[in-house]
């Protein structure tokens, strides 16, 4: 099955639609990129940062270098915020710099060469804790936002299966449960991220909310979202409708859909939510999880699905588990099969150097010994080139 997927992708690459899809970059920008390749600047800032801010033009030559995301883009592309520690770093440095790494470049290459007539391909980013799966996902989302795709981003699926208050029985299906708080906050973020699409996409069915309110056929999708935000009780149903409509209309070619879920193993794991009778709920009894499971199936075309596995927020999974089989379980693996697995590993020596250089340039490493060779060797030893550990170490040095 994996061979069939790779043949699909390589087949698309032979036609080489990537170059033609996004067009040749304009002359001055390509000249800048050309100069960037040709004359590697020896100044310290250039070795760890690159001036290429457009993810579409990131290539092998930018590997290991940091690129800056403009702060106003952050508010529209990542309205829910970034992972907490990265968010703190952004606030401290007043800039958001992501490192361009191999897994992200691989994913970008695949996305540039997607054939939108074929069913959506599922890419799963997996790896040990702290290796950079979530930030690679953020890189890909930034690329798709720049390319004007419709982004369906669930920042952490684990938040939907634990610590939820105010569970209601679903009006649509008596056996399922609604989560008004989570659904309404997600709708708010979805609205901020995709404002321009909400007026263009029209609903293809009439939806009756209650005796007095209903959404007619042909109304913009924005109305459904507004309904979900104003009437919090209907928020989960609004989310379900949004997912259904987007799936139905993604094939029409009016927009390209990216489904990005972080911590997708939550959908097939266990929950810690209880019913009134104090018995544990299964994830399929939650309407949000049910809708998302349908979204992640590859029975639609006109986009791509990028998923991340995460042990950090997961429930009842051993700490050292990171492989797809271990985290997803049999049910999840069978549901996601076939997918393209992309391993995200620790920093290579060049990437480590670049990261330490970036911290030194921003004067983040204040300890006098941290700037010496001995200090760098010790940092490498203590963190084992794990990006998350390195960040935590450098925070107090």
């Amino acid at each position: 099955m994996l061979k069939r997927m790779t043949r699909l992708v390589s087949g698309a690459r032979q036609l080489d639609p990537g170059r033609f899809l996004h067009g040749e970059p304009q002359a001055p920008q390509s000249l800048a990129a050309h100069l960037d390749n040709q004359v590697p600047d020896e100044s310290p800032r250039a070795t760890s940062c690159t001036s290429e801010d457009d993810p579409a033009r990131h290539g092998e030559q930018h590997e290991g270098r940091h690129y800056r995301i403009p702060l106003q883009d952050l508010r529209t592309v990542f309205p829910h915020g970034l992972p907490p520690r990265f968010g703190m770093q952004v606030r401290t440095f007043n800039e958001a710099c992501l490192m361009v790494r191999k897994p992200a470049l691989e994913l970008l290459r695949y996305l540039k060469n997607t054939n939108f007539a074929h069913p959506a391909v599922r890419y799963v980013l997996y790896g040990e804790t702290g290796t950079g799966k979530t930030l690679s996902l953020c890189h890909v989302i930034h690329f798709c936002a720049k390319q004007d795709w419709l982004i369906l981003h669930i920042p952490d699926a684990h938040l939907w299966v634990k610590n939820c208050r105010g569970l209601l029985q679903s009006a649509y299906n008596k056996l399922r449960f609604d989560q008004p708080v989570e659904a309404s906050s997600w709708l708010k973020d979805f609205q901020t991220a995709n404002e321009r699409f909400l007026s263009q996409i029209k609903v293809q069915e009439k939806y009756v909310w209650n005796k007095r309110e209903s959404t007619e056929k042909g109304r913009p999708l924005g109305e459904v979202v507004e309904q979900g935000l104003t009437r919090v009780k209907n928020a989960t149903d609004a989310v379900g409708i949004v997912l259904k409509e987007l799936k139905r209309q993604s094939g029409s070619g009016a927009f390209r859909l990216l489904v990005a879920v972080d911590g997708v193993n939550a959908l097939w794991g266990r929950t810690t939510l209880r019913r009134e009778e104090k018995s544990l709920m299964a994830p399929e009894e939650l309407a949000l999880v049910h809708g998302l499971r349908k979204m992640v199936r590859n029975d639609w075309h006109g986009g791509a699905i990028v998923l991340t596995l995460s042990q950090t927020g997961s429930l009842f999974k051993p700490r050292k588990a990171y492989l797809p089989q271990e985290l997803l379980g049999k049910e999840g693996f069978d549901a996601l099969d076939p997918f393209i697995p992309i391993l995200v590993s620790n920093y290579s020596p060049e990437e480590f150097e670049s990261c330490v250089q970036y911290y030194l340039e921003n004067s983040w490493l204040q300890h006098e010994k941290a700037q010496t060779e001995e200090g760098k060797k010790e940092l490498l030893f203590l963190s084992n080139a794990n990006p998350g550990q390195l960040e935590r170490l450098c925070a107090y040095l």
């Binding site: 401290t92 440095f93 204040q366 300890h367 010994k369 941290a370």
Partner: protein
């Protein structure tokens, strides 16, 4: 062979210690803190550079030193002491004083979170300040920590001395280690007691350290109070006989 020698050493250590200390720390009171090691025990060599030198590089004295260490008894290195380049004895001592119930892991993590909080606050101030002020803002959490504790050290202390059935608070010069201890003790007590129930230790401690760095705040006030009391009781200074 080693065991009876060690036992004999330990047996000797009690007497040796009693004989050694000519000047007691407190008048009329005996030593409280014993060491299980006798005087013949040497301190462990933690320094990595010492062991990296090859035979050719050593001088005569160092060769003699190395040979001697092979026959000498050496104390065990404490678990908290590392050969890391980032190690700081002051931070280590402070962490030990913050520790409760032997939970050094928790104390160390609180300490690192405090240093991180201090750094982030200073970076925020740096970015908000104008170009001329940026040079004056100190962003190194270690210098801030050391300077803050130095600012909190009292110069003179008070000691209760019994005269004629009454205890008088007599101003007394403090040795260095007592001053450092008092500064750290005041800082930790202040942060533990005078904070809101829900406020976390790193947040409070970082705030107090920054205030002490600028010679403000409750710990500096406590130091000044101590100085004022000593100044007020200076008539009693002749009660001190050492």
């Amino acid at each position: 062979m080693a065991a009876p020698a060690v036992k004999a050493a330990r047996g000797r250590s009690v007497l040796a210690l009693g004989l050694r200390r000519a000047v007691p720390r407190l008048p009329g009171l005996s030593q409280v803190r014993w060491s299980r090691y006798g005087p013949e025990y040497r301190d462990p060599q933690i320094d990595k550079e010492y062991y990296r030198k090859t035979l050719a590089e050593l001088t005569e004295e160092e060769k003699y030193e190395q040979e001697l260490r092979k026959t000498q008894l050496i104390k065990a290195a404490p678990a908290a002491k590392t050969s890391s380049v980032f190690e700081d004895p002051v931070i280590s001592k402070f962490t030990n004083m913050m520790m409760k119930g032997g939970n050094r892991v928790l104390a160390r993590s609180l300490m690192t979170q405090t240093l991180e909080a201090v750094k982030r606050k200073q970076f925020e101030k740096y970015h908000a300040a104008a170009a001329e002020e940026q040079a004056t803002i100190e962003r190194n959490p270690y210098t801030i920590f050391h300077q803050a504790l130095k600012n909190c050290e009292p110069v003179i202390g008070l000691m209760p001395i019994l005269r004629g059935g009454h205890f008088y608070q007599v101003p007394v010069p403090l040795p260095d280690r007592r001053r450092r201890f008092l500064a750290m003790k005041w800082m930790i007590t202040e942060c533990r007691e005078k904070k809101h129930r829900r406020m976390l230790m790193p947040e409070k401690l970082s705030h107090e350290l920054l205030e002490a760095f600028h010679n403000q705040g409750p710990v500096i006030k406590k130091k000044h109070d101590m100085h004022k009391m000593a100044e007020a009781n200076r008539a009693l200074a002749h009660y001190r006989w050492w």
